[in-house]
């Protein structure tokens, strides 16, 4: 299942969030990403959804992909040893599903592409046994296990591992993937989506976006030209970069900076897409001191190259661009509640009639946070 080649990609991203935490079904996000059909090439699409498992909200939801039954059996042994499995079940799908409405597809035959030959898709709702967290925090423990599974088990891949959230991804056009996973039947307060245009043939389900760790999910349009150093920066902190895609570094960097180093979200984005020195030199003292220190200490975390990224996490959604905005990103709001982000304005207008629409400045994060607390 795992593809050993590195896959640069262009793409489309879209995100919807209700700050009030109102849960909505997946139809809007599917329609939004479907509108940008031409930004993908049918080699990958995926979604992250938050708030979808209210009945299992306190358990870690692992979305898993297995090449075959042996892989599943082997991994299950491991999961039984390391977690308390509360429930496990096949992830419901509609085999051969397609998105029925018109898309921007250039021709019909490449416009719809029924989703076929998926890996075994299974989800596990699990608790971390208490005695396991004497020396490490619960989340640290989960991260270790995810790294372990992804690096040591062949034919096995953890697509997502957060609470009350999940990643749904695969090979195909994103709108078809959405129908395949029956996202119209789920309800979430944050939805992000990704349509992929890799420049060679991967055929690997795990290689599609979003990339997730704990409740972090990343959809990413672009390429991280600084991948080489971001990877080497992360490795001493115990992250195993095995997925051969630049996007995974972004998920791990947020995990490191925000969860482990407890950086406020806006400062974490400052580390990943730092202001230029010429701008730092003009900042007021206090701000300048912070920005300078961030660049001095977190230089290895600086993301360089063209990108627009939407980060999803339990408490919110963050969109940001590279420092000179080499990839598109438009944001919009409607009322106090709804926040939209997308590669194209049209993909927002397709599903909403927003009050304000703007293109955030290069390197400036748009942060949407829930009005209420979740873990």
């Amino acid at each position: 299942m795992r593809c050993d080649c590195y896959i640069p990609s262009g793409c489309a991203v879209s995100g919807i969030m209700s700050k009030a935490g109102e849960r909505m079904d997946g139809n809007d996000i599917i329609r939004s990403i479907a509108l940008m059909h031409d930004r993908s090439n049918g080699l990958g699409g995926g979604f992250a959804a938050y708030g979808i498992y209210p009945r299992h909200a306190n358990e870690y939801a692992f979305h898993m992909m297995f090449d075959n039954m042996e892989a599943k059996d082997q991994c299950e042994e491991y999961l039984k040893d390391t977690f308390d499995i509360v429930l496990d079940e096949e992830i419901p799908t509609r085999p051969g599903a397609v998105f029925e409405q018109d898309t921007s597809g250039r021709s019909a035959e490449c416009g719809t592409q029924p989703i076929t030959s998926p890996p075994i898709l299974w989800r596990y709702f699990m608790d971390v046994p208490e005695h396991r967290t004497t020396f490490v925090s619960e989340r640290e423990y989960v991260v270790e296990k995810v790294m372990d599974i992804n690096s040591k088990f062949t034919g096995t891949f953890v697509a997502s591992s957060g609470k009350n959230m999940g990643a749904f991804k695969g090979v195909g056009y994103p709108e078809d993937i959405g129908m395949f996973y029956k996202l119209d039947e789920y309800k979430g307060y944050i939805w992000t989506a990704h349509g992929r245009f890799p420049t060679n043939t991967p055929g690997w389900w795990g290689g599609a976006h979003p990339f997730c760790l704990l409740d972090w999910s990343i959809v990413h349009n672009g390429e991280i030209s600084s991948y080489g150093i971001n990877k080497r920066y992360l490795e001493p902190f115990g992250y195993k970069l095995e997925l051969r895609t630049d996007t995974e570094v972004v998920a791990y960097l947020f995990d490191l900076l925000v969860r482990r180093h407890k950086m406020p979200m806006d400062l974490a984005v400052r580390a990943l897409a730092s202001p230029f020195w010429k701008d730092i030199d003009r900042m007021p003292k206090r701000e300048q001191k912070i920005a300078t220190a961030i660049r001095q200490v977190y230089g290895g975390a600086l993301l360089n190259g063209p990108f627009s990224i939407i980060l999803g996490y339990s408490r919110g959604m963050v969109g940001f661009n590279d420092r000179i905005k080499l990839r598109p990103m438009t944001c919009a709001t409607k009322g106090d509640d709804m926040l939209y982000m997308s590669s194209e304005e049209s993909a927002i207008r397709e599903i909403a009639d927003p009050d304000t629409v703007w293109s955030p400045k290069a390197g400036t994060a748009v942060i949407g946070e829930l009005n209420w607390e979740v873990e």
């Binding site: 080649c5 590195y6 640069p8 990609s9 262009g10 420049t199 672009g222 390429e223 030209s225 600084s226 991948y227 080489g228 150093i229 990877k231 080497r232 920066y233 490795e235 001493p236 902190f237 051969r244 482990r260 180093h261 407890k262 950086m263 406020p264 400062l267 730092s274 230029f276 020195w277 010429k278 206090r286 001191k289 912070i290 220190a293 961030i294 660049r295 001095q296 200490v297 977190y298 230089g299 290895g300 600086l302 360089n304 190259g305 063209p306 420092r323 000179i324 080499l326």
Partner: protein
């Protein structure tokens, strides 16, 4: 009578020579005499090209003395010449500058990546391209607090950092090994270019007091010129343990070079040899080094980073790791091709390892131990152009150190006679009539030009890599590929062979 045949032939075209005697005045090696016309003593010529450059009629040419020795692929002319010299003198062969032997130059076996389509390159003429670099110890993470007004404050106190506008600093060359004018030129250029010069182990002349922010002061085994004032008139302090050209060997400044000024700066009597012992006599272990590091930090009130310079030897990675754990804020690694004012030839030509391998090993080792951010890495030992700079940074260096390249910019012809004190270009000499030949202002300008030019070229390289900040290249070995290298060397360098994608 000496049996050593002349290495070079000085040819004078008497048809065009107008007998101005300029060459006679310019040759500091006493090769030219005037007897009705210019008569060269070929044996004394070192091919420094001073006369050639200053002859108004271009009447002089210097050529290799071909067939001085009958051909042999094994017994090369220099081999036999050295034997002859030692047969005549019974002494250690001294030499200057870096290792000239044809060892494989690994920089020339590395190629840099560039962007095409999927990630766009960036135009450095239109977009900002950042080279700013900070030397010094960094914590692994920052901590923030919120004050009463809900404003975020940085609660981590950073150790002292030295800012460089370009990641290129001038190498340690002592006042003594090189002239005061050369020191002046280096200091001025460091200031102009927003970088650092390094005093080397000879102390600092009072004329350079105004350049404090651009000076690294060195503390070496001889402790010449080390006072608390000296330590404090610097941006950074460097403890010199070793030098790439002569690992494990001390220094020797002959008494003839120790005049009035040098004697004051070094704090030794006029005319005495200045001998730096091979080891520091108070450092016989890593814990001793740690004590010196902290003694210096105490003496400078913890306001300056302290770096430790070592030569690249087989076990360099473990040594560097020990140095960082001993409290150093920066490590300078000097490769076996690094220059020197004077060194025994057998050491220069045979001891140490290439800087490329040493750098790769040190950077990886510090990362493996999770202490890479605790010290900056400076890479020295024959950085010849901005391509080398980019490759060194991609392998993991924070900044590079240039010595020979800086001298060449000031006029050095790499004649390797620095140890004689006769440098015809006024660089590696203390003879007032020769020192005068180097105008510090002009030297500074040429040095600044070089740094500026390399800076522009680095920006071009960054742009072609699709990144706009030097930290995205630093340690990004993914952007390097090896060519004509065996598997093991590739592994040691941590790079893939050319032809393999990401």
């Amino acid at each position: 009578m000496s049996q050593i045949p002349p290495e070079f032939i000085v040819k004078i075209d008497y048809d065009t020579c107008r007998r101005c005697r300029r060459c006679v005045m310019n040759c500091s090696f006493g090769c030219m005499q005037f007897k009705d016309r210019v008569v060269p003593d070929h044996k004394k010529c070192v091919a420094c090209h001073r006369c050639v450059t200053f002859c108004p009629e271009s009447a002089i040419s210097i050529t290799k003395n071909e067939l001085t020795y009958k051909d042999s692929a094994n017994w090369l002319p220099e081999t036999r010449q050295n034997i002859l010299k030692q047969a005549e003198t019974g002494g250690i062969l001294l030499t200057g500058m870096g290792n000239p032997r044809p060892y494989q130059i690994l920089w020339d076996h590395m190629l840099i990546d560039a962007c095409q389509v999927t990630n766009p390159s960036i135009d450095p003429l239109r977009e900002p391209m950042e080279l700013r670099t900070f030397l010094g110890r960094k914590p692994n993470r920052l901590e923030f607090t919120r004050d009463g007004n809900d404003e975020i404050k940085l609660s981590t106190e950073l150790q002292p950092q030295v800012k460089l506008d370009v990641p290129i600093v001038f190498a340690a060359m002592s006042y003594g090994a090189i002239s005061l004018n050369a020191h002046r030129a280096l200091a001025m250029a460091a200031k102009n270019s927003g970088t650092l010069m390094n005093t080397g182990e000879g102390g600092i002349h009072k004329d350079l007091n105004s350049y404090t922010d651009n000076i690294v002061v060195q503390v070496a085994s001889g402790r010449f010129g080390v006072t608390s004032e000296y330590l404090n008139s610097s941006a950074m302090v460097e403890i010199k343990i070793g030098q790439g050209a002569k690992p494990g060997i001390g220094g020797h400044l002959p008494g003839e070079k120790v005049g009035e000024d040098i004697s004051k700066t070094r704090m030794i009597p006029v005319g005495t040899d200045a001998l730096s012992p091979a080891p520091h006599h108070d450092i016989y272990s890593i814990e001793d080094l740690s004590q010196l590091i902290y003694a210096i930090k105490e003496a400078t009130d913890y306001t300056k980073p302290v770096s430790v310079k070592i030569s690249a030897v087989h076990n360099v990675a473990a040594i560097a790791s020990g140095i960082v754990r001993a409290g150093a804020d920066a490590v300078t690694i000097d490769g076996f091709r690094g220059g020197t004012g004077a060194a025994p030839m057998v050491i220069r030509d045979n001891v140490g390892i290439p800087i490329e391998l040493a750098l790769a090993a040190v950077d990886q080792r510090l990362r493996d131990e999770g202490i890479r951010s605790h010290a900056s890495i400076l890479c020295a030992g024959s950085i010849r152009n901005s391509g080398d700079v980019a490759k060194a940074i991609a392998l993991g260096a924070d900044a590079v150190v240039i010595g020979t390249a800086a001298l060449v910019a000031m006029g050095c012809r790499v004649c390797q006679k620095c140890y004689t004190g006769n440098c015809a270009w006024g660089i590696a000499t203390q003879k007032p009539e020769l020192v005068r030949r180097l105008d510090p202002q002009v030297g500074a300008e040429r040095l600044s030009n070089l740094v500026t030019a390399w800076g522009y070229e680095l920006q071009e390289i960054l742009g072609s890599l699709g990144v706009n900040s030097i930290e995205s290249l630093r340690g990004s070995r993914e952007r390097l590929r090896g060519i004509d290298l065996d598997e093991q060397t590739l592994e040691l360098l941590g790079i893939k062979p050319a032809g393999i994608g990401q």
